[in-house]
């Protein structure tokens, strides 16, 4: 088995008639990496994957796999295997025939195939289930069969299109770890598609966050979570509180923002926006719920607001406060066993560390 090859998308545009599904995508994926495309439904994730696997030709740009231009090669000639969004197991074939389909079309003997199928069934922890039909398997089992079928083709790159979306939460979490383990064992490049940011963050070495055909940011989990490049990324990946306003001062990678309701606040400028912000620009500042704490601090990082609601979640409290433009500000506080409850309507002060806030030019937020 190969130890993973690079995949490079160079300036890919994909159009369906007048509709641009993918716009100027430039992605470099290293060999053996677990790479995720993260984005809301309909943003063009599947479309990109289909361009990589060869089911559609980009209107512009090149797909390179292992440094080789894939132009003109059909899906059956590319060193990729795709796990479909709906799995696409062959319903009339037994599990073992499904798994070894890639060998069958190359003319391998039944005995050979059976043997390989048994090995793979052991690997996916379904020993002895080879003679069942796919319809006789549970959701998670089907999932694993689909993975085994793809791995049996010995691809250099495994493409996974939201393979876990149909599973319930528990199974999904279990399969996440399992997928990650398999990836580390076989060592090939995984390109994973999901609209679940938790999935992307837990499994991936790198994440590309997409919005309506545009890749907003590529980076590892920390970069995407802590240093989002755009308001969309900031609001799509994890929970975030947004404060809108105008820039009043810039000092290196810090800025002062005159927010609409909370006065002047200080924030770090997100790396992607350094040098692009000017005094007077419309801007958005983001602070994560867990970065807020009760009690006043520095005047330029203290906010006062009325409590709307408080939720107790066992290990933590969520406090909802009146925020900007009808939106609520959320504060997450660990449960230390001492906190008195706050009454609704009570006005509280809370603060944050300016290093934990990011500001960037105003833009579209992810819709809830």
């Amino acid at each position: 088995m190969s130890s993973g090859v690079d995949v490079n998308l160079e300036n890919i545009w994909i159009k369906f008639g007048d509709f641009v599904a993918v716009r100027e995508a430039n992605v470099n994926i290293n060999g053996g990496e677990f790479f995720s495309f993260l984005g809301p439904s309909g943003c063009g994730k599947t479309t990109i994957l289909r361009a990589v696997s060869g089911f559609l030709t980009p209107s512009e740009g090149r797909v390179l796999i292992g440094g080789k231009d894939m132009e003109g090669l059909g899906p059956n000639k590319r060193p990729t295997a795709l796990i479909f969004q709906n799995l696409a197991l062959f319903p009339l074939m037994k599990v073992w025939e499904n798994i070894t389909f890639s060998m069958e079309v190359k003319g391998a003997s039944a005995a050979e195939r059976r043997k390989r199928a048994d090995e793979l069934l052991d690997m996916i922890a379904l020993p002895g289930q080879g003679d069942k039909l796919p319809s006789e398997l549970s959701g998670g089992q089907k999932q694993r069969v689909a993975i085994a079928r793809a791995l049996c083709a010995q691809p250099d790159v495994l493409l996974l299109d939201e393979p876990l979306s149909a599973l319930d939460l528990k199974l999904r979490q279990h399969m996440r770890t399992e997928l990650r383990e398999i990836q580390q064992r076989v060592g090939i490049t995984f390109i994973y598609i999901t609209h679940d940011q938790g999935e992307a963050l837990t499994m991936s070495d790198s994440v590309a966050v997409m919005r309506a055909g545009i890749i907003d940011q590529i980076g590892d989990g920390n970069a995407v979570y802590d240093r989002p490049a755009t308001p969309f990324v900031a609001s799509f990946v994890g929970e975030n509180n947004v404060f809108r306003g105008k820039i009043t001062a810039i000092n290196g990678d810090e800025a002062l923002i005159a927010t609409n309701r909370s006065g002047e606040l200080r924030s770090k400028i997100t790396p992607a926006a350094v040098g692009k912000l000017n005094v007077g620009d419309e801007a958005m500042m983001f602070v994560r719920p867990e970065m807020l704490q009760l009690g006043a601090g520095d005047a330029k990082s203290t906010i006062t607001a009325k409590v709307v609601n408080e939720e107790f979640e066992g290990n933590s409290y969520s406090i909802y406060l009146e925020g900007d433009g009808g939106k609520q500000i959320k504060m997450a506080m660990p449960n230390l066993g001492t906190d008195p409850h706050r009454a609704k309507g009570e006005t509280v002060s809370f603060s944050y560390d300016a290093h934990n806030a990011v500001v960037m030019p105003a833009g579209d937020l992810a819709s809830e």
């Binding site: 795709l82 479909f84 696409a88 319903p91 389909f101 069958e104 079309v105």
Partner: protein, 451 residues
């Protein structure tokens, strides 16, 4: 309230009886008539239970040939129609998205065009092609033309079946196959074709049945290979006998067997898939499976029938029946003769000519004979009687259509006409077409002569 519900139930029951009577009635009558020894397909009057029509059927060269050609044409049509239909449906669902509805209209048109038109155009077109190519024999061959002619519209039926199935096909499966390294041919053979198998089976059955029963297209194209339907239609011209019913019985039995077998198979695979709970005691394959039970019962009935058919002979019954009828006829003749004698006596008393009494009877009552004899050879006696009536000068030319298909009228007419002449005359020389074509009538004719 309650009576309303009751009324509703009764009405529904009545409706169902009428409905199923309407559906099954003709089949039942036809089926029974295959076992009646009467020479025309009928169940009233019931004469003798017999299997002779089956043997007549198996010795009828024309019907056997017809069946043979029907099968050849049927298989040819199945192969051609399924192939064309499958290709057409693939094109419809997978290739031309923009032209889909136009294409659909074109491909479905043959179903809407009358079969007669298809038959004629097939004939004309291939004649032209044959001429252009300098008279290629095979192009004007009846079987070739019939297969082509029938396939023009049967292929459309097949396509509809395939389209219905294809709409449930996930094209992702083909993509998955390609992704795993299959060529397009392999993806078609290993993924799409197996998926289409049930549709191919039902389209084949549909195509075969449509071909088997087709008349209006075939009638223009059969050339020197008349299929069964054509043969049957031609035979009607010479008069039919219950071997037709026997054929119907065989076809019905085969159909029912086929349907039950399919049902049993379907149920069993369901059972395997665990969709039907297994009961205790009964073997699993039998439980909850009426189809299997029926199939088994039917098989037994069939075996029993075939077995009895080997030993049972209706000869005695037939002889009895003939004797009884002869006696009946004789009695009627006596009665009429007596009546006539009385009338003659009365007329003599009134001083009128006796001839009038003779013509009156056939003119009103005996509105029978004539053409009836052409279609139904069993009317023979009556026709014979009619010509006997010619003795008295008036009856014969007046014979109209009345009992065309009803041999039951027979005795009456015979008695009547015989009564018209003052004495029974030998019938044989004057008898019309019937007996010429159907040797089965011989006995009857002979019986008449005996009278």
């Amino acid at each position: 309230m309650k009576s309303n519900i009751l009324f509703g139930r009764v009405a529904l029951g009545l409706y169902l009886v009428i409905f199923f009577g309407y559906l099954v009635g003709p089949l039942a009558v036809m089926g029974l008539s295959a076992f009646n020894s009467a020479e025309f397909p009928s169940i009233i009057p019931w004469q003798c239970f017999t299997y002779e029509w089956f043997s007549t059927l198996f010795h009828d060269e024309r019907i056997l040939k017809g069946v043979k050609y029907s099968f050849i044409v049927g298989f040819g049509t199945v192969i051609l129609s399924v192939a064309i239909g499958l290709a057409a449906s693939l094109v419809l669902t997978q290739v031309w998205e923009k032209w889909r509805s136009t294409y659909y209209t074109v491909i479905i048109a043959p179903i809407l065009i009358p079969g007669v038109v298809l038959g004629i155009s097939t004939l004309v077109f291939w004649k032209k092609v044959s001429d252009l190519l300098g008279g290629v024999d095979v192009l004007s061959n009846g079987i070739f033309l019939t297969i082509l002619g029938q396939s023009t519209f049967i292929a459309s039926y097949c396509m509809l079946v395939f389209v219905a199935r294809l709409q449930r096909f996930d094209p992702g499966l083909t993509e998955a196959a390609l992704d795993l390294g299959a060529t397009h041919t392999q993806a078609f053979r290993k993924i799409l074709l197996p998926f289409m198998r049930p549709a191919i089976a039902s389209a084949s059955v549909l195509a075969f049945l449509a071909s088997f029963e087709n008349y209006n297209t075939t009638t223009f194209t059969f050339g020197s290979y008349p299929t069964l339907t054509i043969q049957l239609a031609q035979m009607v011209r010479y008069g039919i006998n219950p071997s037709i019913s026997a054929l119907a019985v065989i076809i019905v039995v085969i159909t029912v067997f086929g349907a039950l077998t399919v049902e049993v198979y379907r149920r069993r695979s369901k059972l395997k898939a665990g969709e039907i709970r297994q009961g205790k005691g009964l073997p699993a394959w039998l439980f909850g499976n009426t189809a299997t039970i029926l199939l088994v019962a039917l098989s037994f009935a069939l075996i029993a029938t075939v077995y009895t058919a080997q030993t049972y002979s209706p000869a005695q019954c037939k002889a009895d029946y003939k004797a009884a009828r002869a006696a009946e006829v004789q009695a009627k003749i006596e009665a009429l003769r007596a009546a006539r004698a009385a009338a003659a006596a009365a007329a003599a008393a009134n001083g009128e000519a006796p001839a009038d009494g003779g013509t009156n009877a056939p003119a009103t009552q005996g509105g029978t004979g004539g053409f009836g004899g052409v279609f139904a050879p069993t009317n023979l006696e009556d026709a014979a009687g009619q010509s006997n009536g010619a003795d008295s000068g008036a009856a014969a030319p007046a014979a109209p259509f009345g009992n065309v298909f009803d041999p039951g009228n027979l005795e009456d007419a015979a008695g009547q006409n015989n009564g018209a002449s003052s004495a029974p005359a030998p019938a044989a020389p004057a008898s019309p077409f019937g007996s010429v074509f159907d040797p089965n009538n011989l006995e009857n004719a002979a019986g008449q002569n005996g009278n």
